[in-house]
Symmetry: C2
Subunit: 195 residues, 2 copies
């Protein structure tokens, strides 16, 4: 839980009292997942927000031909959830699983909203999280309608090198919305050009 207080420190200097720390301690639960173990399966309701303290995960949908489409990667200090399912209590269209052995801390819906009203630092944290998420989403949408597949890959190498290093290429391809073969060709071209 000291980890989480440290985490909040990345976002705000706002003080967290010892009473507030107790509230946080009670609300967050640790969880461990083995590589490939599900956190969420399509059709289930996402009941927790989960913060990765160690490991790597992905969120993806599976199409009617079995193809996987990755909407989100997460590594340490990233949150994993299907936001819509979490907020609305609706069955999720996504799976979330671990690509590496993973450790999380999780919080349920009621606790999340209670902490937001009772702890000012939590309000600041969530506002900041939402802001960063909005900015990142817009960039990804802009890239999707503006850039070629190769440009998107090169952009990802610059902005998210850790994902490139820790996830296999076929998952990178599915995150970029291209086939693994195309990604392989793009990488070869970039290498030959010295990018």
């Amino acid at each position: 839980m000291d980890k989480f207080i440290d985490y909040i420190r990345n976002y705000t200097e706002h003080p967290v009292s010892s009473q507030e720390k107790d509230l946080l301690q009670q609300a967050f639960r640790p969880k461990k997942l083995r590589k490939r173990q599900y956190l969420l399966q399509e059709g289930d309701v996402c009941r927790h927000l989960s913060l990765i303290t160690k490991g790597a995960m992905r969120q993806y949908s599976v199409d009617d031909k079995g193809g996987e489409h990755t909407v989100q990667f997460g590594i340490e200090n990233w949150w994993m959830s299907d936001r819509e399912s979490f907020e609305l209590g609706s069955p999720s269209r996504y799976n979330i699983d671990a690509w590496e052995d993973t450790e999380l801390i999780q919080i349920g819906y009621e606790d999340w909203w209670r902490l937001r009203s009772e702890i000012p630092a939590m309000r600041i944290l969530t506002a900041e999280m939402d802001k960063r998420h909005a900015v990142a989403s817009q960039k990804r949408i802009h890239a999707a309608i503006t850039l070629t597949a190769e440009e998107r890959y090169l952009e990802m190498m610059k902005s998210q090198p850790a994902f490139i290093q820790r996830f296999p290429q076929n998952m990178i391809a599915s995150y970029l919305g291209i086939s693994p073969e195309t990604l392989s060709r793009i990488r070869k071209q970039a290498f030959l050009r010295g990018d």
Copy 2:
């Protein structure tokens, strides 16, 4: 301003005192734009969040060949801003202009954050806005990596018919990340199939 209070009512039943109403009144300014008039030009800092009370607008980038790429449409009760530029005070990569004669109410950065801390209903409103935006963004990202151009258009017709009706087809195409010619062909196919 009664309009804005009504607007908040869409989001929460939380009471807004007459004192709070005064604060809102002072913070929001009306603005009118003629069709095609800029609200924000690329390179400028986005200093306001703007709520459309009447009209239609778009947010788009211009590439080095002069092509326009639309990341956002807005009609009545939609907010228009470059969030990143607004929050960071950085020059925006986007333009925002009016497609129809438009009326707005605007609020600046300091006022926005002050109202958020002073008026509980504003906090609820912004949390809800962020939630809806996150859900919508995820859907758009998922569509971009999962669906064909035609499927994306058909999906847009279902989820955002007002945009289809009020914006010209070349802008719809640029929002979908496809050429106007391709959109024209897609529409013809769908029509011939009775979609």
